[in-house]
């Protein structure tokens, strides 16, 4: 390209550039005037609240995202503390912005899974070859013997945005280091196995079974199911047995020596610790092996 060519190009191009520049400048002035005339005053508190929130738009608070929760909480301060991932820290910051005194907002909620049966602990009547999702597998009766237990097809791990849930040996395991408590997994599970529990200790006890059938039937299809024997209830009133299934009253959760005894006495080892430094669950005794089918 020679110099005259470049000059020719420049001569062709400059009117276009100038016109665009002029037009753009004209619109910029119009918009500038409009933005001054039509200014909407936004409450500075809303912006500050939004900064205190984790900005992950997980929806645990029940609003569409962090921005809409910030607007709602500025108007109705009693909505404070709904942010599960932010927890007490975010609640305290919001309280500072809104000039509120809050009492202890309670322990952060974390999921526990009411099943601990690995693939080798379960009994199957048939082989499932359908869509690899729990919702689809749940619609088919009698593939997995236990109608209550974890199916292990990853609906909860797909719902988790924080990589805090993994299917290991056919059972969902929570990684409590990564979990933010947004309860997306609890909503995703078609069998409602995941319960959100206030973790007021680092490791919490849970009954890792939700089978409602009687002890004999449960034992025939799972090595680690709760048989509803009530040995734990005899130790401490923290436990109760409903529908052949032991439950823990988390409102009065306080580990004592008796609860430790209950954990050790449980014949199928279904009472397990969950949490960041939980000891590995007790392996089932050989004598509880299922009857062969």
């Amino acid at each position: 390209m020679t110099l005259p060519d470049i000059l020719q190009l420049w001569n062709d191009a400059w009117p276009a550039g100038l016109t665009m520049l002029g037009l753009g400048f004209g619109f910029a002035i119009v918009l500038l005037i409009a933005s001054e005339k039509l200014k909407v005053a936004v409450d500075p508190k809303i912006e500050q609240i939004q900064k205190a929130l984790p900005q992950i738009d997980c929806g645990a608070c029940g609003f569409a995202g962090c921005a809409s929760y910030a607007r709602a909480v500025a108007q109705q301060p009693d909505l404070i503390g709904k942010c599960a991932p932010g927890g007490a820290e975010a609640a305290n910051k919001i309280a500072q912005v809104l000039n509120l005194q809050i009492s202890d907002s309670g322990a952060p909620k974390r999921p526990i899974i009411h099943c601990r049966a690995r693939t080798q602990d379960k009994t199957f009547y048939a082989e499932y070859q359908g869509i690899l999702s729990c919702t689809a597998a749940n619609a088919l009766p009698n593939v997995q013997a236990c109608k209550f237990g974890c199916l292990g097809y990853s609906d909860c791990t797909e719902a988790c945005r924080f990589d805090a849930l993994h299917i290991i040996d056919g059972i969902a395991i929570v990684d409590y280091e990564k979990c933010t408590g947004c309860s997306a997994c609890s909503r995703a599970c078609p069998r409602n196995l995941i319960e959100m529990v206030p973790f007021n200790h680092e490791n919490m006890l849970s009954v890792a079974c939700s089978n409602n059938e009687n002890g004999k039937t449960t034992r025939s299809m799972c090595r680690v199911g709760c048989i509803g024997c009530g040995l734990c209830v005899k130790q401490t009133d923290l436990f109760s047995v409903e529908n052949n299934n032991a439950r823990i009253d988390y409102a009065k959760y306080q580990p004592t020596e008796q609860t430790e005894t209950a954990v050790n006495k449980c014949p199928t080892g279904v009472i397990v610790y969950c949490g960041k430094s939980a000891p590995p669950p007790r392996m089932p005794k050989q004598k509880t092996a299922p009857a062969s089918h």
Binding site: A34, L38, K39
Partner: protein
């Protein structure tokens, strides 16, 4: 034909016969996205009508009074998009100030009017059909907005009733919406060739 009948024919043509949504398949994104409820659809239609009238008029003026003189027709697309984006900004600020609830319910679709192809489409069609009269350009732009509003409101009305209908499981949601849109387009094909 006198001016009035030309304008009337142009208006009817752009609203019914050459409806941008139903015969040119432009602006399908908000047509399917915001047609869940009639009140929202009508609000969207009004916003698009405002933007398309403003930008259609402005682009005609810019095209005829500025761009043609130095022979800069090539920059038409850039200029038109500039006008449309500016007009959308204006509408957004106006709605935020005076109709906050409408602003909330539009959400992402309001800035998306910028990329609504019906609007750029109309600005280019006015040029393609060689409209050389400012008044006719204004009427056509306004008619395009009214046509869009009509199409999206009809669609929203049908979809509101569709919620109560017994749709087969496999067609629920998007498929039945697309089938409805197709049938609606077929119905409007009956007007084809009436004017122009």
């Amino acid at each position: 034909m006198d001016t009035l009948s030309i304008l009337l024919a142009g208006f009817i043509s752009i609203v019914i016969v050459n409806n941008l949504v139903l015969t040119k398949f432009l602006g399908i994104c908000p047509y399917l996205g915001v047609s869940g409820r009639i009140d929202m659809a009508f609000g969207m239609g009004m916003a698009v009508t405002f933007v398309v009238t403003l930008s259609g008029t402005l682009t005609w003026m810019i095209d005829h009074w500025i761009l043609i003189l130095p022979g800069l027709e090539v920059t038409r697309y850039v200029c038109f998009i500039l006008v449309i984006a500016g007009a959308v900004q204006l509408v957004e600020m106006y709605l935020r100030k005076f109709f906050p609830s409408l602003y909330e319910s539009f959400g992402i679709f309001l800035p998306l009017i910028t990329t609504n192809c019906a609007i750029l489409g109309l600005c280019l069609f006015i040029n393609l059909w060689a409209i050389d009269n400012l008044l006719e350009a204004v009427v056509l732009s306004f008619g395009a907005g009214i046509g869009f509003t009509m199409a999206i409101c009809i669609m929203a009305g049908i979809r509101e009733n569709l919620n109560l209908a017994d749709v087969p499981q496999c067609l629920k949601g998007a498929p039945i919406t697309l089938i409805t849109a197709g049938l609606l387009t077929l119905a409007f094909m009956g007007f084809a060739g009436m004017i122009r």
